[in-house]
C-alpha cells in the first residue's frame, strides 16, 4: 500500500451557520484513483475547494505528505501538486490549444514577453506526454467537449501535478469518449499521480476507482475499497435510504385495448428522419433511444411544433393535427420537457411560481387581469403534490437543485392538461434520489391522467425501468421496437452500440 499524499482530518466548514462539512476526513494515497461520491449539494464541491485552498476550513487539519499545512492557499495548493479540473475547464476558446497549455507555465515563470516558439514546444510536449492527437495550432473552441477536457488535463499535468481532481468529468461525454478518458486516467495513474474522481454516476465509479468515499449532507458516511461496494450500497449511502428499483409496467384495462392517444404515420422530414410509425396509448410510456444524431431529438422537436415542414400525419385521439408551431402543439395537448432544462425549459431568474404558470396565464386571467388568488392556489397545489423542496414559491428557480428544477418543468405541463408528454432526457444531471422521485411522478401522471408518454433517454436502465416498449432509432429510422419484458438491458445496450 502506497504512502498517503494528502489527508483531511475532521474538517468542518460552516456557511452562515449551516454545516457544509461536518467532521469530514478523507485520505488520498499516492497514485490511487479515488472516488468522492455524493448527491448534488452533499458537500462534494466544498471538499474540492478545501483541498485546493479556495476555502479555509473552520476546524480540522490538512496534511500533505504527513506534514500538517496551516492556511492552505490556492497558490500553495498548486505548488504542492494539487490540480483541479473544473466542469467548465477554465480554458480560453479564443486562444489556440498551444497558448491555453502554455499560459500557466508562462505566468508561473513571471514572463513578460511571449516566446511563441517555446509556447508551441511546451504544448507539443504536454500533448505528446498525454498521448493525444490534437493540433496545437487549432483554436480551442473548434474542439469537441472531450477534446477540451483533454487539453485541460494536459494543462494540469504540466505543473508537476501529484493529485488531479476531476469534477464530474463524464457529464458531457459520450460512451466512447468516457472509455478514452478512463484509459488516459489509468495512464496518468501509472506515473504515480493520484486522481480524485468526483461523481454521482455509480457505474463509472465502480469501473474506474480503487477506493470510494461517500458523503451525504456534509458528513462522510462510508469509505473503503471499491470491491466493498456495489450500486445498491452506494445509492443507499448517497441517499440514506433504499431506492426502490421496481419497474413500471403499464397494464391496459381488460377488454379491448383503448384507442391510441398519439399516433404518427409515415412521419418524414428530409435530412432528419423518414417514414416513422408509432402509436402510444393512454397511460403508456414508450422509450426512444439511439445515438446522438440518430434523429431522436428532431422527432421530439417536431412533435412540439419546432420543426415545421414535416410530412406524414400526427393524430391525437384520432384527430389529425398539424403541428407547425409551438402554440399549436400546446393547444393540441402536447407537453415537452427539453433536453437542456436550464436553457430551454426554465426562466432561471424568475420565481418558481412564475415558471409553473408560464403556460397557464390564459387560464388564470380574467381578460387582462391575472387572478392572483387562483394563481397562488394553483402553484401551491403543484409544489405540494410534486414535493418541490422549497419554503415558498417566490424563490428563484435558479436556487433549486437539478431534481427540483425538473419537477418545476413537469408541474408547468401538468397544469395545461396535456394529453401527450415528450420527455427528452428527463433525468440528465439529476441525482439518484430525485431521479426515482421524478420517475414516480411520470408514472403517476401516465396512470392518473391517461397521458401518452414518449421518453427519450441515453440511460437504458431508465427506459427499461419505466417503459413497456423501447423504440430504437438509427439514422433517422425506427429500426427496432423491443418489448422490455422479453429482452435484457444488456441486449439493448449491445444493439445500441452496434449502430455506428
Amino acid at each position: 500500500m502506497s504512502e498517503v499524499f494528502i489527508e483531511l482530518r475532521n474538517i468542518e466548514k460552516r456557511f452562515a451557520g449551516v454545516h457544509a462539512l461536518d467532521d469530514v476526513s478523507l485520505t488520498i494515497r499516492q497514485g490511487e484513483i479515488h472516488c468522492l461520491a455524493g448527491e448534488n449539494g452533499s458537500g462534494k464541491s466544498t471538499v474540492i475547494k478545501v483541498m485546493s485552498g479556495v476555502y479555509r476550513p473552520d476546524s480540522g487539519e490538512i496534511l500533505i505528505d504527513g506534514q500538517p499545512v496551516h492556511k492552505l492557499t490556492p497558490i500553495e495548493s498548486i505548488d504542492r501538486g494539487v490540480q483541479v479540473i473544473y466542469q467548465d475547464f477554465s480554458l480560453f476558446g479564443n486562444l489556440t490549444v498551444a497558448e491555453n497549455l502554455a499560459l500557466n507555465t508562462e505566468l508561473r515563470e513571471k514572463r513578460r514577453f511571449v516566446n511563441w516558439r517555446s509556447v508551441r514546444a511546451l504544448a507539443r510536449r504536454a500533448l505528446d506526454e498525454l498521448g493525444v492527437d490534437i493540433d496545437p495550432n487549432a483554436d480551442l473552441e473548434t474542439l469537441s467537449t472531450a477534446g477540451k477536457q483533454l487539453v485541460a488535463i494536459a494543462r494540469a499535468l504540466m505543473s508537476d501535478a501529484r493529485l488531479l481532481i476531476m469534477d464530474e468529468p463524464t457529464t458531457a461525454l459520450t460512451g466512447k469518449e468516457v472509455e478514452t478518458l478512463f484509459r488516459i486516467v489509468r495512464d496518468i495513474q501509472r506515473r504515480g499521480i493520484a486522481i480524485l474522481f468526483v461523481s454521482h454516476k455509480m457505474r463509472e465509479m465502480l469501473e474506474i476507482s480503487e477506493r470510494i468515499t461517500v458523503i451525504r449532507n456534509g458528513r462522510k458516511v462510508a469509505e473503503g475499497p471499491t470491491s466493498d461496494f456495489n450500486e445498491g450500497s452506494i445509492t443507499r449511502h448517497m441517499t440514506g435510504h433504499d431506492i426502490s428499483s421496481e419497474s413500471y409496467r403499464w397494464q391496459p384495462s381488460p377488454g379491448a385495448p383503448p384507442a391510441p392517444r398519439l399516433e404518427i404515420k409515415g412521419l418524414s422530414k428530409p435530412g432528419a428522419f423518414s417514414d416513422l410509425d408509432l402509436a402510444i396509448r393512454p397511460g403508456e410510456i414508450v422509450g426512444l433511444s439511439g445515438l446522438l444524431g440518430s434523429g431522436r431529438t428532431e422527432v421530439a422537436l417536431s412533435l412540439f411544433g419546432m420543426e415545421p415542414g414535416y410530412s406524414g400525419t400526427i393524430e391525437i385521439d384520432g384527430q389529425p393535427v398539424r403541428l407547425d408551431s409551438v402554440g399549436r402543439a400546446i393547444a393540441a395537448g402536447i407537453a415537452y420537457v427539453p433536453e437542456d432544462r436550464l436553457s430551454e425549459g426554465l426562466f432561471l431568474s424568475q420565481s418558481i411560481d412564475r415558471n409553473i404558470l408560464a403556460t397557464s396565464y390564459d387560464a388564470i386571467a380574467n381578460y387582462l387581469v391575472i387572478d392572483r388568488a387562483k394563481a397562488r392556489a394553483m402553484t401551491a397545489d403543484m409544489i405540494r403534490s410534486l414535493q418541490i423542496a422549497t419554503p415558498t414559491g417566490e424563490k428563484l428557480v435558479s436556487e433549486l437543485s437539478g431534481g427540483n428544477q425538473q419537477r418545476v418543468v413537469l408541474a408547468r405541463w401538468l397544469l395545461t392538461n396535456a394529453k401527450v408528454m415528450v420527455l427528452n432526457g428527463p433525468t440528465v444531471g439529476v441525482d439518484v434520489g430525485s431521479k426515482a422521485a421524478i420517475h414516480h411522478i411520470i408514472r403517476d401522471l401516465a396512470v392518473n391522467q391517461g397521458l401518452a408518454v414518449l421518453m427519450i433517454s441515453d440511460d437504458v436502465l431508465e427506459l427499461v425501468g419505466n417503459c413497456n416498449r423501447i423504440v430504437l432509432m438509427h439514422r433517422g429510422r425506427f429500426v427496432a421496437d423491443v418489448d422490455t419484458a422479453t429482452i435484457s438491458e444488456e441486449e439493448i445496450s449491445d444493439q445500441l452500440k452496434s449502430f455506428k
Binding site: 480554458l91 479564443n94 513578460r112 511571449v114
Partner: protein, 325 residues
C-alpha cells in the same frame, strides 16, 4: 488554407474589390492626392480605433474616448496659450497624460465596482465633456491664436509631388506616427503577457483569474492605454486642422466602433487584431471619402455608417457561431 480562414484576408479582399469598384465609378479615386488625403483621414480615427480595439478585445465597450480626446487637446492648447509655451513634445506628453488620467477613471469603475463598461464610459464621457464646457470654456481656439509650433509640426510630409498644374500635394508624416503606434499596439497585444491577458479577459474573467492573471493590472492597462491613445489622437487632430474646438468629435464614437467591428473584432470580446482594425478604418474612411467625391449629402453618411455597423456585426457574430458549432 489558414490564410483564407483569417478575417484579415477576407476584409482585405473586400477592401480591394471595393477600391476597384469605386475606381471604376469614379476614376478620380485613384489620383495621388486623393490617396494622400485618404491616408491623412485615417490617422486620427485610426489611433482612436487602436484604443477601442483593446477595450473590445477585453469584452468591454468604450464610448468615452471622443470626450477624453477633446478634453486632452483643449486643455493642452489652452495651457500652451496661457503659459505661452513653444514646443511640441511636452504638449503631446501632457495630452496623453490627461487621457491616461481619464482612462484610469474608467478602469477604476470597471474593476472596483464590476460595472458594465458601456455604462461606465457613457457616464465618464458625459462627465468629462460637461466639465470641459462648464469649467474650461466653450470658445473655439481659432487659427489666429492656435500655437504655430503645432501647425508647423503637423505640416511635415513624408514626400510630396508637384502636379502638372503647379499645385503641390504631399503625404503627411503623421501617418508614420499612426503606423508606429499601430505596430506598438500590435507588439504589445501579440508578444507580451499583459497583451495576452487582454485576450484572456475577453474570453472570461473567471477563467483568466483562475489561470493567475492579475485582472486589476489588465483592466487598468486597457483603459489607461485607450485613454492615452485618445489623448494622443486629440492633440494630433487639432494640430492637423489648426483649431481646437471643445465641441469636436461628437458622434465620433460610432464611427470608430464601426471601423473596429468592420475590422473583424468581436463585440463579445476575445477576437480581433490590429491589422484587421487598420483595414476596417481604411474601409470606413474610404467609403465616407467616396460619398463626398460622389457629392452625397453628409447626413446620408450617417446612414451608411449605421448600415456598416449592422452588417459587420452580423458577419462577425455569424462567424463566431460557426466556429463554435
Amino acid at each position: 488554407m489558414v490564410l483564407f480562414r483569417r478575417s484579415e484576408t477576407i476584409i482585405a479582399t473586400i477592401l480591394v474589390l471595393a477600391m476597384i469598384a469605386i475606381g471604376l465609378v469614379n476614376p478620380a479615386f485613384w489620383q495621388l492626392d486623393n490617396m494622400f488625403s485618404l491616408l491623412r483621414s485615417n490617422v486620427v480615427i485610426g489611433i482612436m480605433a487602436l484604443g477601442v480595439l483593446m477595450v473590445m478585445l477585453s469584452g468591454g465597450f468604450d464610448v468615452s474616448f471622443p470626450a477624453f480626446a477633446v478634453a486632452s487637446m483643449y486643455l493642452t492648447v489652452k495651457g500652451m496659450l496661457y503659459f505661452g509655451y513653444v514646443g511640441v513634445f511636452l504638449p503631446f506628453l501632457v495630452s496623453v497624460a490627461i487621457g491616461v488620467l481619464c482612462g484610469c477613471l474608467n478602469g477604476f469603475f470597471v474593476y472596483k465596482f464590476r460595472m458594465v463598461p458601456l455604462i461606465v464610459t457613457l457616464g465618464t464621457g458625459s462627465m468629462v465633456r460637461g466639465f470641459l464646457l462648464g469649467v474650461v470654456g466653450t470658445s473655439i481656439v481659432n487659427i489666429d491664436r492656435f500655437p504655430p509650433v503645432l501647425i508647423e509640426f503637423a505640416k511635415a510630409e513624408v514626400f510630396s509631388v508637384v502636379k502638372s498644374d503647379g499645385t503641390h500635394s504631399g503625404l503627411t508624416a503623421m501617418v508614420l506616427l499612426y503606423f508606429g503606434l499601430a505596430l506598438l499596439v500590435h507588439l504589445v497585444l501579440r508578444h507580451t503577457m499583459i497583451g495576452r491577458s487582454v485576450y484572456a479577459l475577453g474570453c472570461g474573467a473567471e477563467a483568466a483569474n483562475r489561470v493567475g492573471f492579475n485582472l486589476k493590472k489588465t483592466i487598468f492597462f486597457i483603459y489607461c492605454s485607450a485613454g492615452a491613445l485618445a489623448g494622443f489622437a486629440g492633440i494630433l487632430h487639432c494640430s492637423m486642422i489648426w483649431l481646437a474646438n471643445p465641441r469636436d468629435f461628437v458622434g465620433m464614437d460610432l464611427e470608430v466602433i464601426a471601423a473596429v467591428v468592420l475590422g473583424g473584432a468581436s463585440i463579445f470580446g476575445g477576437r480581433g487584431s490590429v491589422l484587421g482594425t487598420m483595414l476596417g478604418v481604411f474601409m470606413l474612411v474610404m467609403v465616407q471619402n467616396s460619398l463626398i467625391i460622389m457629392k452625397v449629402d453628409t447626413t446620408w453618411q450617417l446612414v451608411v455608417v449605421g448600415i456598416i455597423i449592422v452588417i459587420a456585426t452580423v458577419a462577425t457574430a455569424w462567424r463566431d457561431r460557426k466556429r463554435q458549432a
